[in-house]
């Protein structure tokens, strides 16, 4: 089953959020999901410490030497592997990309994110050339406005598509529920059904956004 790698040398772009949303949604579709937390900030480990959704397994503290064998051992029939990487330009990132069936590059709609994120896209293309096989990759815009698509976002999408880069629709909207997943653990469905969880946001809309995002990723894995 596929290996999905979240890659961007920039921190804070939403790699861990994407990983959590995909893991939760794929697990809800009854897939056996293994999430590899390769980020020294341990965002996914923190999320898991509050409780993992059924069907999700976490492996953490994976370094440069362990990344390839760990992906290989986690991969198997009926399993989806999701790799959350550190937000730096490291060999850990380049090695993980080499094992991917799909590389997702999250990017906020800002010039800085686009510039740094494009390093990951360039690396994927160079690895494709070096390895002689294609590595599917796509950008997802994150922390976008729920109300309107900004001019910068429109221009960035246009530039990316113009350069032949696959842009995942929908983007991930800035939702309090997404960030609060790391405080409560579990998934958005559990959050919506538990009145004890105070999100201060619209969980139902966050869930619809996450499901549409997972569906778009699924289409790219077929």
């Amino acid at each position: 089953m596929p290996v999905i790698v979240m890659a961007s040398p920039k921190g804070g772009v939403g790699k861990s959020t994407c990983a959590v949303l995909l893991a939760s949604e794929f697990a809800r579709m009854r897939a056996d999901v293994t999430v590899l937390d390769c980020d020294p900030n341990k965002s996914l480990t923190r999320w898991a410490s509050h409780g993992l959704p059924a069907g999700v397994t976490l492996k953490s503290e994976i370094g440069r030497s362990e990344i390839v064998p760990t992906i290989r051992s986690a991969d198997g029939d009926g399993k989806i592997v999701i790799v959350d990487l550190e937000g730096v330009a490291s060999q850990l990132v380049s090695r993980a990309i080499s094992q991917a069936d799909l590389v997702i590059v999250p990017m906020q709609p800002t010039a800085l994110d686009a510039e740094i994120g494009s390093e990951a896209l360039a690396l994927v293309r160079e690895e494709e050339e070096a390895l002689g096989r294609s590595i599917r990759h796509a950008v997802v815009l994150t922390k976008t406005s729920a109300a309107v698509k900004s001019r910068v976002q429109k221009e960035l999408e246009e530039q990316l598509r113009g350069a032949g880069i696959d842009v995942i629709e929908p983007s991930l909207v800035a939702r309090a529920a997404f960030s609060e997943l790391f405080a409560y653990g579990g998934d958005l469905t559990a959050m919506m059904n538990d009145p004890e969880m105070m999100t201060g946001g619209k969980v139902d809309k966050a869930l619809i956004n996450a499901q549409a995002f997972a569906e778009a990723v699924y289409e790219r894995l077929k």
Binding site: Q91, V93, S94, E126
Partner: protein, 92 residues
């Protein structure tokens, strides 16, 4: 997405994971600034464990007694030996 396991039909593409392939990936990454950023361990020899041994020829119970007295006085064994040497010199 429905609850049915549509994902079961998904397949991973075979990927070689030879040492040569990893080396090529590292080279491509390094050329773009994706370097080995594994935290380095502290350099140098690790400190030896304390044995309380003053000298190989000192009987262990004498060494232990000196270590216990130094600890009681809140000084190092070396400082205690210096005090003992002063007394020894003063007595001759």
């Amino acid at each position: 997405m429905s609850g049915s396991n549509r994902l079961a039909g998904l397949k991973a593409r075979p990927k070689d994971t030879t040492v040569e392939e990893v080396r090529r990936v590292d080279e491509v990454g390094e050329a773009r600034g994706f370097l080995d950023r594994t935290p380095r361990k502290k350099p140098g020899r690790k400190p030896s464990p304390r044995t309380h041994q003053l000298h190989p020829k000192v009987f262990p119970w004498v060494g232990e007694a000196i270590a216990a007295e130094a600890e009681r006085l809140g000084v190092t064994q070396g400082q205690l030996i210096e005090l003992m040497w002063e007394k020894y010199e003063g007595s001759h």
